[in-house]
Symmetry: C2
């Protein structure tokens, strides 16, 4: 059925679940194209996740990296935003069930992403928070900043050191960026703030199960990153696994040798698991999931047996070359969102679309204010220039959805003053904060 | 004992409880003056409360109006910041007790301010949140923005109207500013965001027990403010009290005539009560409190019978002319903080200080982006020029403690684009959000 032939009929209704990079790119491409688009998200904003660690470190406010979905999609009167939490998908009835309602679709795009995953140790979630939501970032910020406050008051040396030890589990881009950021907090930002402690004495330990930091990067760049991190006071432990977290103790193990690390601030950047909607879809349609819960899709990103359901982004498992599936990063989600939009529009016009091909744009990871590593295919480099490229790319994508000039401005300001002003500890403090009796 | 004569002895230790306007002005004046200063606060930041309503409205981020206490007091090595919650004051032992520790003082300055007060209806706190902390502001923001999201999904007209009705209780400066801000959200900011509702249909009701909005302002300015508010769609009910809040119903009463207002967003800006530390001090020293819990101080702001304990700001009850006590506003707290610092430094040098005199600087309240009312003694005016004065004064005080250029920048940006970008709904949603079955 072509839209052009049926002008008087109702518009074809495309429901997109999730307003992340994938969902929002699809929505922008489909809006204003004589289809009805509904974006469903449990949050009212798109979150620029690659910069979430800067919220955790108190460099940016949550509002700096979030854009209201309604603002992004403001201009299209046939595009709707529904704030609701999806609980089930029923392909046989072409409907999506919310916790408090439901919605019908003609075509469905699933883009609900992933969450952190504790490899069967769900009880670690409380002890070692992950970094996926605004609330996660504020919780990490609370933990990090509170550690220094407690260390300043603590009078027993051993306990002080426990507060000043930061253990980061997982050295992917987020772990590396977080460790570098904490290093910079201790070396620069917080340097003059305390009287009883020297923030430089902090121990920052970055643990990685594989044999280098940034496991998906070329060895040479990983070595550069390790050098930058070491300069910021970060201790790197590769080939090392966390085997237990109990109270303020984490047990790490390398080739069978165990060690206990006493730390009051354990942060989790290790594993992700696909959104539970993959499971819901599988239950109602028999579609296959991979080990981490991703939906194994066809080369056109549709679900086998359900030609009107597409899965994109972190929730999709697609191998374009028969090898490893595409990684769960923003560029993949964006390109998939664009592709699916084009596919659907073509189909409505009776046209075919070639299978999805991913154009690798390269990888960037930042370590501190002046250093980054860049892997742009042929071009691999590290240092200040890589940092400039990183800053440019992130600003470019940030302003794509919303005019986040405030971020550019705040970065510029921070860069020259080294005075990072979003260092609020919010939420509830633990009690007692310190164990010593005095102060 | 004069400091000059006792250089080898320990420094005189001044403990300041509370890092608000009063405490921080005292701390800045005392720092670097050959005394040891310790500022104790349960939060790690100073909050610029006069702009908190802009956080509630999603125009500013909490970080924009908060300055880390350690940053403000960075330069003075004899000035300490302790993050702790005070539970008691023991003047007989010259010590302050924390929930998890204690500290001794030579001189104590109490500046822990006030909280909202529900006049004996403590159960209203859950139903009608107040506006004193960052968390309060984010909770108000959540409620306000969520209302529109729910109204957009709600299909029953009556329930939709319940969501689109905003009841603000108390028309002091905060209530007036909040009502004006919500008016502007509905008229401008959110105008193009929704498809099923017209935000202009929102009912904004501002209730005040006295006979005009801004009860402490001259009648003429209050009338101007009422005119501005009406233009923004705010319905004003003076001489009106809230007698009950039950579920989504608030009963308001005027001259014995009762009316039920159905609203899902009831906001409290009516009453304040002094910090509970006044009571703690009274229990241990027999000092007198007024009806709202403020400590009745001597003309030099010291506590009768305790010449080394001072109370300043919202927690102090001081009448300089035998009439009404000074109001709980920032300028009073700032001037009292400065005065007490001077008094203590003089005393250490054996010098006398004249009793405290308040220099009235005037009052400013803002209604929307272009209008404000100003009562600067001889000079009373309203409109755009008053708004400019308001913006100038607030920026001036904001940058006093920290370089909040980001705020200036964000205001300028907002002013010209009308795109307010901090509209995040955070925290947990109620369930079910809407009662209707579909959407």
């Amino acid at each position: 059925m072509s839209i052009a032939e049926n002008k008087t009929e109702e518009l074809h209704h495309i429901v997109i679940l999730g307003g992340g990079f994938g969902g929002l790119y699809a929505a922008k491409m489909l809006s204003g194209r004589k289809v009805k688009v509904t974006v469903v998200d449990k949050r009212n904003f798109h979150l620029f996740q690659p910069l979430l660690y800067q919220v955790a470190a108190g460099w940016l406010s949550p509002g700096d990296i979030a854009s209201p979905l309604r603002v992004v999609l403001n201009d299209y009167k046939d595009t709707y935003v529904v704030k609701a939490e999806v609980s089930d998908i029923v392909p046989s009835e072409k409907k999506v069930v919310f916790r408090d309602g439901e919605i019908s679709y003609d075509t469905l795009i699933l883009a609900t992403g992933s969450y952190h995953h504790y490899f069967g140790h769900d009880d670690w979630a409380q002890k070692a928070p992950g970094l996926k939501t605004v609330e996660d970032a504020l919780e990490m910020r609370r933990k990090i900043l509170l550690s220094f406050e407690a260390a300043e008051r603590e009078t027993e040396l051993e306990k002080q050191q426990e507060w000043m030890t930061f253990l980061i589990i997982g050295a992917g881009p987020t772990g590396v960026e977080l460790a570098g950021t904490i290093g910079e907090l201790t070396k620069t930002t917080l340097k003059d703030d305390f009287r009883n402690i020297n923030t430089d004495d902090a121990k920052i330990i970055l643990v990685e199960g594989q044999d280098q930091v940034l496991p998906t990067y070329p060895k040479k760049l990983a070595e550069k990153a390790e050098k930058f991190l070491t300069k910021l006071g970060v201790t790197i432990r590769v080939n090392t696994m966390v085997t237990d977290i109990e109270g303020n103790n984490a047990i790490i193990s390398r080739n069978g040798d165990s060690e206990t690390i006493q730390s009051r601030t354990i942060l989790w950047t290790a594993g992700v698991k696909a959104s539970s909607l993959g499971k819901a879809l599988a239950k109602n349609s028999g579609v296959e999931l991979d080990r981490t819960g991703r939906v194994i899709v066809k080369p056109d990103l549709s679900v086998p047996g359900l030609e009107d359901v597409f899965v994109i982004g972190d929730l999709a498992h697609l191998s374009t070359d028969g090898g490893e599936p595409l990684p769960g990063v923003a560029p993949v989600a964006m390109q998939e969102g664009k592709y699916v939009a084009k596919f659907i529009l073509n189909k409505l016009k009776g046209k075919q679309t070639k299978p999805f091909e991913y154009k690798e744009k390269g990888n960037l990871a930042v370590i501190g204010t002046n250093s980054a590593v860049a892997d742009l295919g042929e071009l691999k480099f590290a240092g200040f220039f890589a940092w400039l490229v990183w800053a440019f790319v992130h600003i470019r994508y940030l302003i794509e959805f919303d005019s986040k000039v405030v971020v550019l401005f705040r970065w510029g300001w921070n860069y020259f003053t080294r005075k990072r002003g979003v260092r609020l500890i919010t939420g509830e403090d633990p009690f007692p904060l310190i164990d010593s009796k005095k102060k």
